[in-house]
Amino acid sequence: MMINGVAIVDTFAEAFTMTAVRVIVTAASLEWAQIAANAATGYGASVIGCDTEAGIEPHWANSPDGRPAVSLLFFAFNRQSLEKAVVNRVAQCILTCPTTAVYSANGDSSKKIRIGGNLRYFGDGWQISKQIDRNQETVRFWRIPVMDGEFLCEDTFPTIRSVGGGNFIILGTTPGTALAAAEAAIAAIRQKVEGVIMPFPGGIVRSGSKVGSKYPKLIASTNDAFCPTLRGVVKSELPAETSEAYEIVIDGVSFDSVENAIRVGIVAACIPGVRQISAGNYGGKLGPHHFQLHKILEPEFRR
């Protein structure tokens, strides 16, 4: 399959089932909401080394208290680790940030993690619980006194059965082209797709990883098959003349949202100078979600 002269490899991206939570941060100004959001989602690239994979959803308009709002998505492999990570991040990065408040959004209401209920102890006995009936459900809030007034946080947040690790890899022939293509892909996904985050810095990964290592302590190590400097000494997957490769990793609230992001991203990345677009997988043995690149793109681009 070719799109704008770029070969789409007949392979698939392999992704995992994860648990996600959506956290809405509001503040007196959009600037403060974004500052809190950036802090809370920092160091949230990959669960290989971080407690959670985190990112900011663009274009979130629904604000529970009418103030500027930003939506964050956090992903982990189970609810326990997700709760621990999000409680710590909200406590250190949002509770501390001027004028902020934190609310939940939609999700599977039968499964929840407790955030406000864990943070309330910071109130040292002066915290106040409030319950409101909203959408035929009783929602509990915690009001914690802080030095600029009150920090408001919902007690529990519904979790979402989600998909993490969707990906595609852009292979460029001249230095800079793959990066430009990756930037275009990220911009397109952010503009057109809802319910996904690209958790790595700028949404782009240069250190794509494979499972395992020659060092027993490491669970992941560099994806040598895509490293241009190792061509000739390892079993490389880089075609001739390829000088750089970048991976886009996508976590989403559903299979469809990740699939849509892969489609939009690949189409945007097919620019002159890009030789090939591939995807990372582990032979289909680890992750239950397989995104076949040709199948995703076929409705629009015939082989």
């Binding site: 009418g66 103030r67 106040i128 409030k130 409101i132 809030f141």
Partner: protein, 266 residues
């Protein structure tokens, strides 16, 4: 079912037990034979009310009372589900100790929703004293649910209430939220003297000037993020509470000072 009062009541009528869940599946004849206490005599409900079906009473038996029931007592007491509509006055103790369902009425007497723990009560006009209150000797008043009064309410609104929300659009009498344990009271036009006297926790929000008891201290002026969240769910005029700064009073210091009165600043 529609229960139309045949003659005006002149002596008290105890309607305890005349509930949607109790009459669900009953025939009109069964309902009419139900015993109620009228004065000091047990009589059949059908003697006082003309009962007519509404068509779908078998699976959902909502009750509509027509007539002045200001002499009635305990209407909707202990209701768990369904809806009772009163086209007129609902009497004393209406909706007391209810745990679910909805009670709609035009006016209500004293002890409306006393010690209720769930459900909704909507009063189109006025209610009497001790709305959502604890009965004498009880430790806790209302412990859940919501009472909305679009007119005025009497004294000791929310006395010893433990949880839930009471909204009153019009004037409220003295000692609102007295000895309150928790919960939220929202009032519109005026709040009587000694609001929050002896309150341990809980929040009284008012758009009027406050004359609190001596155990309250001025705390600060601030914009609570909770207020716009709450105001979205209010049934009374919510625009009064949106985007405003409040003057926060903490008290009652006699009982710990963890309660609060928010006076909306114009």
């Amino acid at each position: 079912m529609i229960l139309e009062l045949r003659h005006p009541l002149t002596i008290p009528l105890d309607l305890e037990g005349v509930l949607p869940e109790a009459l669900r599946g009953s025939t009109i004849r069964d309902a009419a034979m139900r015993a109620v206490l009228h004065g000091n005599r047990n009589i059949e409900l059908g003697e006082l009310f003309k009962i007519t079906p509404t068509g779908h009473d078998s699976d959902q038996c909502d009750l509509t009372f027509e007539g002045d029931l200001s002499h009635a007592r305990n209407l909707g007491m202990g209701m768990r589900s369904g809806q009772i509509t009163v086209k007129g006055h609902a009497g004393w103790h209406a909706g007391a100790r209810m745990t679910g369902g909805t009670l709609l009425c035009e006016n209500a007497g004293h002890w409306l929703g006393a010690e209720m723990s769930g459900g909704h009560i909507h009063v189109a006009s006025n209610a009497g004293d001790q709305v959502g209150a604890a009965y004498g000797g009880s430790r806790k008043g209302m412990s859940g649910g919501r009472i909305v009064i679009h007119g005025s309410a009497g004294n000791e609104l929310g006395l010893r209430m433990r949880r839930g929300i009471i909204e009153v659009a019009g004037p409220v009498g003295r000692f609102a939220g007295a000895s309150m344990i928790a919960g939220t009271i929202v009032t519109g036009t005026s709040l009587g003297a000694y609001a929050g006297a002896g309150m341990k926790r809980g929040t009284i929000i008012t758009a009027s000037a406050v004359q609190p008891s001596a155990g309250f201290v001025a705390s600060c002026k601030f914009r609570p993020p909770f207020l716009p969240v709450l105001s979205k769910e209010l049934f009374i005029d919510r625009t009064v509470f949106e985007g405003v700064t409040v003057h926060c009073l903490r008290g009652d210091l006699i009982t710990g000072g963890r309660g609060e009165i928010w006076e909306i600043l114009k």
